[in-house]
């Protein structure tokens, strides 16, 4: 068989493994990528042929996801996390060391085809930054010295898992995980991390009718923990009431909000609690299938999670007639993502589960009515489902003892940045931000990012506000910046993140975020003028009001809140008042090329207004 025929046969085999099912496109293409190091033209043709879809459908998926590539990649792909926190913790030096050791720039592959160097947004390791992904293996706490040793070792032994010489705490040391990742649970609260009777929540739920289960969750006032905060009980109720079936429960474990890593710890330490919560949700809404959408960056947890699912099937906690309840059949599969932030948005996540580009869908219809494959679907965050299981176990009143009027219970915070003790904190809703800062040892906080870059940058004057939906809502990300940090640079960096991660479907988000960044960078160069501030405010409002999904509806928030709460930083950037030429128009630079080509200087002295004698030398093109 020629090479082309061999490729075809291999691709066919991969497709067959996934039932030649086009909704499993992401799995198929991930496997092709792993097998060949990229998805070639021939492979795309073959996948399209076998799964019965158009070639462009395959190509659009390949081009959408960061972890898929249509050009050959090195045998070892090193992805440097370019998150702001990693940068604060020394990523520039680490990146320089990688470039030096490998002799290539970011985005290049070594000539022997061995290494590829790439950048990737937050990989959920902010508490142990700077971190990189070496294929699927997470390497944390890097410094230039370690980079040298790592590259040396990889040249000697190309298996990245050999880089893990010391495993992290808890299940990070499980034989199926074996990661150097540390959990850093700094404050184990009562809801998530207390000792409990396994499956008590599920047993209690199965004693009740599905309606009663939903009632319990509603009474607990549990709201979604991914950031948006929609009441969980109502979501379940809508999905249960929706016509048609089968119904689906999807767990959103695509935590991509920069600075968030709580779900990673839950998946590592509380997978049973999560799957118990999913099973309860399935019982409540009448779902027969569940999907755990695991972000591609957490692929190292996959085998472990598959193992936990297998154990549960063996124990009768998944499969037919769960815990002996006739007619309650439910199972869970894992869908691995492939590096896309927007897939954390629930309709984009559904698109991704269906094997398409992670484009958000129009709403209505909401997923509760028409979600995965057009069927009623409930999408919940990892933490939400864990909490639901505990609520069924202990009762809604128990849960409501913590929190505020509209924010019941506790919240997991992922804290990173300029503080002594970065990590996971379970705190009751309503805790003051200043108390959180004391807990994590942030002594010189000049600004705190609450809720990630789509949240709010809080100024010291507001540190007494409380973490809750009423005041400072957050999906869990808290990033501390000390008073020496350049906040406008940070805003600009986060805008670059949104620009990269925009799916490109709607203009306000695709174009608007670029314009925001350009104008802020202009201000940072000292070329701004007062009217730019008004322009930024207006543009931010337009993007928020007219974008199609949560990405564009929240991406200008940092600009908006810093213009309000850190206005002096912007004012300090204003150039000379705009009486004559705009500060952003550089006449000297605009003339440079012309002067060189023509061979004489401008006859005008642009700094003064007097005219200068000119120099004349003929020039030849």
């Amino acid at each position: 068989m020629d090479e082309n025929g061999a490729t075809k046969a291999a691709v066919q085999a991969i497709c067959r493994e996934h039932g030649n099912d086009r909704t499993r496109m992401l799995d198929i293409l991930r496997d092709v990528q792993r097998r060949f190091g990229f998805v070639s033209d021939e492979a795309m043709d073959e996948v399209a042929e076998v799964t019965g879809c158009a070639r462009i459908d395959v190509e659009s998926v390949v081009s959408f996801y960061a972890f898929l590539s249509d050009r050959p990649q090195g045998r070892i792909v090193i992805r440097l996390c370019n998150d702001v926190v990693d940068e604060l913790k020394g990523m520039p030096e680490v990146a320089a060391a990688f470039r030096r050791e490998l002799g290539i720039a970011i985005g290049e592959t070594t000539s022997d085809g061995f290494f590829t160097l790439a950048e990737t947004p937050c990989i959920g390791m902010c508490d142990q930054a700077p971190a990189v992904l070496v294929n699927d293996v997470v390497v944390t706490d890097l410094d230039p010295d370690r980079v040298r040793r790592i590259v040396h070792r990889l040249r000697y032994n190309p298996d990245p898992s050999a880089l893990v010489t010391e495993v992290g705490d808890g299940n990070n040391g499980h034989p199926l995980v074996r990661a150097m990742v540390r959990n850093n649970v700094r404050r184990a609260g009562e809801v998530i991390f207390s000792d409990r009777m396994a499956e008590a929540g599920l047993q209690q739920a199965l004693r009740l009718t599905p309606e009663r289960v939903i009632e319990q969750v509603k009474q607990s006032k549990l709201c979604g923990r991914g950031g948006a905060g929609f009441p969980t009980g109502r979501k379940w109720e809508f999905t249960r009431a929706a016509q048609g079936g089968p119904k689906y429960i999807i767990c959103n474990a695509d935590e991509g909000e920069p600075g968030t890593f709580k779900d990673r710890v839950l998946l590592t330490e509380r997978p049973d609690l999560l799957f118990e919560g999913m099973t309860i949700a399935a019982y409540a809404i009448g779902a027969s299938e569940g999907i755990l959408y695991l972000r591609g960056e957490y692929a190292y947890l996959r085998r472990f999670l598959e193992h936990v699912l297998e154990e549960r099937r063996r124990a009768g906690l998944l499969g037919q007639s769960i815990l002996g309840v006739d007619g309650f059949d439910f199972d869970i599969r894992i869908q691995l993502g492939a590096g896309s932030y927007v897939c954390g948005e629930e309709t984009a996540l559904i698109s991704s589960c269906e094997g398409q580009r992670g484009d958000p869908k129009n709403r209505p219809p909401f997923p509760a009515e028409k979600g995965f494959l057009g069927r009623p679907t409930c999408v919940n965050n990892v933490e939400t489902l864990c909490k639901a299981a505990r609520i069924l176990e202990e009762g809604p009143d128990w849960f409501r003892q913590w929190g505020t009027e509209s924010s019941a219970g506790t919240k997991l915070l992922s804290i990173s940045g300029d503080c002594l003790r970065p990590g996971i904190y379970e705190v009751p809703f309503g805790v003051k931000l200043s108390d959180v800062l004391k807990l994590c040892g942030a002594r010189d906080a000049g600004a705190v990012l609450v809720g990630g870059p789509s949240g709010r940058l809080v100024a010291p004057a507001d540190f007494d506000e409380r973490i809750c939906f009423e005041e400072l809502p957050t999906g869990g990300a808290i990033v501390v910046f000390d008073s020496s940090r350049d906040l406008l640079r940070i805003v600009s960096r986060y805008l670059a993140f949104f620009i990269d991660e925009s799916c490109g479907h709607c203009t306000p988000c695709r174009v608007g975020n670029v314009l925001l960044k350009e104008r802020i960078d202009r201000l940072r160069r000292g070329q701004g003028e007062r009217s730019d501030l008004e322009y930024l405010e207006r543009l931010a409002r337009t993007i928020q009001a007219t974008s199609r999904c949560g990405l564009g509806q929240t991406s200008p928030r940092l600009v908006e809140c810093t213009l309000r709460d850190f206005r002096s930083l912007y004012e300090a950037c204003l150039g000379r008042p705009d009486l004559e030429l705009r500060p952003s128009f550089d006449i000297r630079a605009a003339l440079r090329e012309s002067e060189a080509l023509v061979g004489r200087d401008s006859v005008y002295n642009w700094n003064e207004q007097s005219e200068l004698p000119c120099r004349t030398t003929p020039s030849r093109l």
Binding site: S584, A590, E593, S594, L597, Y604, L621
Partner: protein, 194 residues
């Protein structure tokens, strides 16, 4: 007899509003559109006085001006100087037409390098005879900018009137609205271009 301070102030209060116009990197089409006002140009002459403008051939400002109309974007340093003069002298500056607003046809060259433009214009163009291959560098010829800029990227501009050219009617409506200090509400037909 010497004019008193009060008399001078009174004279300035009574004086007609002043208008200035210029065509930068444009085709004079927008100015032709001003002439399209036809008999209303007499009415305009009643309402205002023209300062620096090709219409009266005044080459310099005689003093402060109320409204400046700019046709065309900036393709060379001379344009920048004129535009800067306008910004200095005009209380309200209006970008008149598409070239002033976004560069227009001259900005087509923005996709090419300046060197390519020179080569085509002075060396390789089908009608060019230039055996020396020299490109003109007389100081009388203004230096080109690296690209064509819309006016608002060079100076602050208060209003943009789109159109290629804007119709006489929309110019008339704009001027009378500005002169009478009332809001401008152009009907859809006047700002619809396809």
């Amino acid at each position: 007899m010497m004019e008193t301070v009060q008399e001078r102030e009174q004279r300035q209060l009574n004086r007609k509003p002043r208008i200035a116009t210029a065509s930068l990197a444009g085709c004079f089409g927008c100015h032709m559109s001003v002439l399209d006002l036809d008999e209303r140009i007499l009415e305009l002459a009643e309402l205002v006085e023209f300062d620096r403008s090709p219409i009266d051939d005044l080459k310099d400002f005689t003093g402060p001006v109320d409204i400046g109309l700019i046709e065309g974007g900036c393709c060379n340093e001379e344009n920048v100087r004129v535009l800067r003069e306008f910004r200095k002298h005009c209380r309200i500056l209006v970008s008149l037409g598409d070239c002033a607003t976004m560069g227009g046809v001259p900005a087509l060259r923005n996709t090419l390098s300046l060197q390519e433009c020179f080569r085509e214009a002075y060396c390789d163009g089908p009608t060019v005879y230039n055996p020396t291959g020299l490109i003109p560098n007389d100081p009388e010829i203004p230096l080109l900018l690296d690209r064509v800029y819309p006016c608002h990227e060079v100076v602050r501009v208060d209003y943009h009137l789109p159109g290629c050219p804007p119709s006489a009617e929309s110019i008339w409506q704009t001027l009378t609205a500005l002169l009478n200090n009332r809001p401008l509400d152009l009907p859809y037909e006047l700002i619809k271009y396809d």
